[in-house]
């Protein structure tokens, strides 16, 4: 970890360690990587987001507001359902972070009410109820993502940034490009520097998801949910192994790594450092 010292409490998140696909050992639990560069776990190229946090627990809310500000976003706070609904309706937010159980008005009802009024601001539901049924209920009520408590801020940030990007709604492109890596979603062909890469179907979907969110941090849980459609928490580092296989196919033998490990958060596909 070198002597890297960062003054803020988000240092843990801000220091990311980019892996070049060093040989990994399973039993260390996490893919260990060499420190090569330092940059933020959230995408620097992302514009600033305006967030509304509807959360009744003062301390959690303060923590979130502060943490989002530290990474350069603007976060407002509402401490109950009514206030949250009013703010969300009038304010121009990029993403809502809504606690499920709120005083005065339940989180799901806040989101449902907004949807009924035609407000489509992406909403992420935070809940102590982490079970499959509850998640489905949350998504049915109009939520766009669901994160069970306790969560890590890195996970929340990654999900919120992905949601915010979604709102921009760029037309679904048929080809994703990151640096000299190209993925054709129609022909399922992947090339790097004009050289064709042979990927397994699942590796293709994994890369597709990563490239769709290029420049954004994607967590292991997000990958498991979106690429494999599983919502449980594996006790082993299955995802890391898949990533390291993918990495050996797309980065091995190339000078500039594109698939980066973001320490304490997840992975990111991006074209080198600026």
């Amino acid at each position: 970890m070198g002597g890297e010292v960062s003054p803020s409490f988000t240092a843990y998140f801000l220091v990311s360690l980019v892996s070049k696909g060093q040989p990994t050992t399973l039993h260390e639990g996490r893919v260990r990587a060499m420190v090569t560069e330092t940059h933020s776990i959230h995408s620097e190229s992302d514009p600033q987001m305006r967030l509304l946090i509807i959360e009744d627990d003062r301390e959690s809310a303060d923590y979130l507001v502060k943490a989002f500000r530290e990474v350069g976003h603007v976060a407002d706070h509402a401490s109950d359902g009514e206030e949250g609904f009013a703010l969300a309706e009038s304010g121009d937010y990029d993403v809502l972070v809504v606690d499920r159980m709120l005083p005065k008005r339940d989180g799901l009802s806040v989101i449902g009410g907004l949807r009924d009024k035609g407000n489509r601001t992406p909403a992420l539901i935070l809940s102590a109820l982490g079970q499959v049924d509850d998640r489905i209920k949350g998504l049915r009520a109009g939520g766009d993502d669901y994160l069970p408590k306790p969560y890590s801020f890195a996970e929340l940030l990654a999900r919120v940034e992905v949601l915010s990007r979604r709102q921009g709604g760029p037309a679904e492109e048929t080809t994703y490009r990151v640096g000299d890596l190209e993925l054709d979603r129609l022909s399922h062909g992947v090339t790097r520097g004009g050289q064709e890469l042979i990927l397994q179907p699942r590796e293709f979907r994994l890369l597709e998801y990563l490239m769709k969110h290029a420049g954004q941090v994607v967590t292991r849980t997000m990958l498991l949910e979106n690429v494999w459609d599983y919502h449980f928490d594996p006790q082993t580092n299955v995802i890391d192994v898949h990533i390291s296989r993918l990495r050996s196919k797309i980065d091995k033998g190339f000078e500039r790594p594109l698939l980066h490990t973001i320490r304490g958060a997840g992975y990111m596909v991006r074209d080198g450092m600026k």
């Binding site: 970890m1 010292v5 890590s152 397994q200 699942r202 599983y230 192994v241 296989r245």
Partner: protein, 486 residues
């Protein structure tokens, strides 16, 4: 409560009393009916004979006058067991007959009446009663004809006695029987109460006495015993769980606390603080995983997940999990293969996937061939590194299994291994919450199936045996294609 009081309060005794009352009433009303009818019959007989004699004698008086009737009366009065006869002058003087005295005023009124009388030929008959009829003859003479009611009285006495005795016998027998039955029931209930009180006091191993008669109390006792068995198992389970929670959650919590404390006391630069914080977060993540697993098990065990069930093919689940874990197995120097045939299931896909994932994770963690088999050649060694996920239908069951060639679990430990937090000694050093098999078992139970642990010669085969979906619609959807991993 005294013993007698207790006896009187038993249902058996109260029922006996109720029946006793009912039977006594029945007997009494039977006797009353009998007595009343007899009374009527006797009266009818008397009135008929008296009436006919009255007609006869009135005729005689009309035809032959006073002399004729007196003669006839004296003649008839001498017969043994005769009726009562009396004829009087208009002044009230008796002329002939076998009655020496009557209750005053009897002769004054005509028609039927009951009276005490005394016979001429039997001075002791003073207490006897008779049913008499008085008729006014022409020229003021009065004729009385009657019949002794002694017979009727005796009959009544007999009936009364019968009533008394029968009621007495009914009461005595009934009470005796009631007390016998009640005390017998009471003894058994007391035994049960004693046992239940011991159980309430904390001795869950107590069981109710079961007789050999197989009657309703025995059946009740058997059922209660079965219930106690279940409660004891649950309580033991709960106790173990809380002990284990205390251990498995307190241990990492203590580590967490110690590390934080140590970091506060010892760390001199930020790098050290950061390292301590990182370990703290890792430790918390582990705790969260354990909590999640516990919640999931509780949820599966309480049946809450039943709402989220649909039809799917277990073969797809097996292939999906194989696809997810195959690289991990390869990294651990194991070969994960999957063999599937169509196996239609109705259930919670997410939970079954997770259960299977847990089994595969266990197999990857513990399924490496033990170091003892040094003498195996290369081919055998390769076979020993095979992990197999299998999904198939066998009769009414869908079998989802994961087999390895690791050190396995000794037969004696297998049942134990499914319990929560149990990590067999060999695995203590590897990471994991020890909840994987418990969750798989809870999921199997939720679907009405079970988790089976078998010997894989060598190694372990863990099978989720679940009832197949009733609908046949899914069969044949997935081809019979054994897949070999790449």
């Amino acid at each position: 409560m005294t013993a007698i009081g207790k006896l009187f309060r038993t249902t058996a005794f109260r029922l006996t009393l109720a029946y006793l009352l009912l039977f006594a009433l029945f007997a009494a009303s039977l006797l009353v009916y009998f007595a009343w009818n007899t009374h009527r019959l006797i009266n009818d007989q008397i009135t008929t004979t008296v009436d006919s004699e009255m007609t006869e004698l009135s005729d005689l008086f009309a035809r032959r006058g006073l002399r004729g009737i007196v003669f006839a009366i004296e003649n008839r009065a001498l017969r043994p067991g005769a009726n009562l006869y009396l004829i009087t002058t208009p002044a009230g003087q008796s002329i002939a007959g076998n009655v020496s005295s009557l209750a005053p005023g009897v002769m004054a009124t005509t028609g039927w009446s009951e009276t005490v009388y005394r016979r001429l030929d039997d001075p002791d008959s003073s207490n006897h009663r008779a049913l008499v009829k008085v008729t006014q003859l022409s020229s003021g003479f009065r004729l009385l004809i009657g019949h002794d009611l002694e017979e009727r009285r005796r009959l009544f006495d007999i009936v009364g006695d019968a009533a008394k005795w029968s009621v007495l016998i009914v009461v005595v027998l009934g009470l005796g029987g009631g007390i016998f039955v009640a005390s017998r029931v009471l003894r058994r209930i007391d035994a049960m109460t004693g046992t239940t009180q011991r159980i309430m006091a904390g001795d869950l191993s107590g069981r109710l006495p079961v007789g050999r008669s197989g009657d309703e109390l025995d059946r009740l006792a058997e059922n209660l015993n079965a219930m106690l068995e279940r409660i004891e198992a649950l309580m033991t389970g709960l106790k173990e769980v809380s002990d284990n929670i205390a251990h498995d959650l307190k241990t990492p919590l203590t580590r967490l606390r110690n590390r934080a404390e140590e970091a506060l006391a010892r760390s001199s630069n930020e790098a050290e603080y950061r390292a301590a914080l990182e370990r703290t977060i890792e430790e918390s993540d582990g705790l969260i995983r354990t909590f999640n697993a516990l919640l999931m098990i509780a949820r599966a065990e309480s049946g809450q997940a039943r709402g989220n069930m649909d039809n799917f093919d277990a073969a797809e689940v097996a292939q999906g999990i194989h696809e997810l874990y195959e690289p991990l197995a390869e990294d651990s120097d194991l070969t994960l293969t999957v063999r599937t045939t169509a196996a239609p299931l109705h259930g919670n896909r997410e939970l079954i996937s997770q259960a299977l994932a847990n089994l595969v994770e266990n197999a990857i963690k513990y399924g490496k061939p033990g170091g003892v088999d040094e003498n195996t050649d290369g081919v055998e060694a390769a076979a020993a590194r095979d992990l197999v996920i299998e999904a198939r239908r066998e009769g009414e069951q869908v079998l989802l299994s994961v087999s390895d060639h690791g050190s396995g679990i000794p037969e004696a430990d297998r049942k134990h291994a499914v319990e929560r937090f149990v990590r067999l000694e060999a695995s203590r050093t590897l990471p994991g919450s020890g909840l994987g098999l418990s969750l798989a078992s809870a999921v199997a139970k939720l679907h009405g199936g079970e988790l089976q642990l078998d010997d894989n010669h060598p190694g372990l085969r863990v099978t989720l045996a679940l009832p197949t979906a009733a609908a046949e619609g899914l069969a044949g959807q997935t081809g019979n294609v054994p897949q070999k991993s790449a």
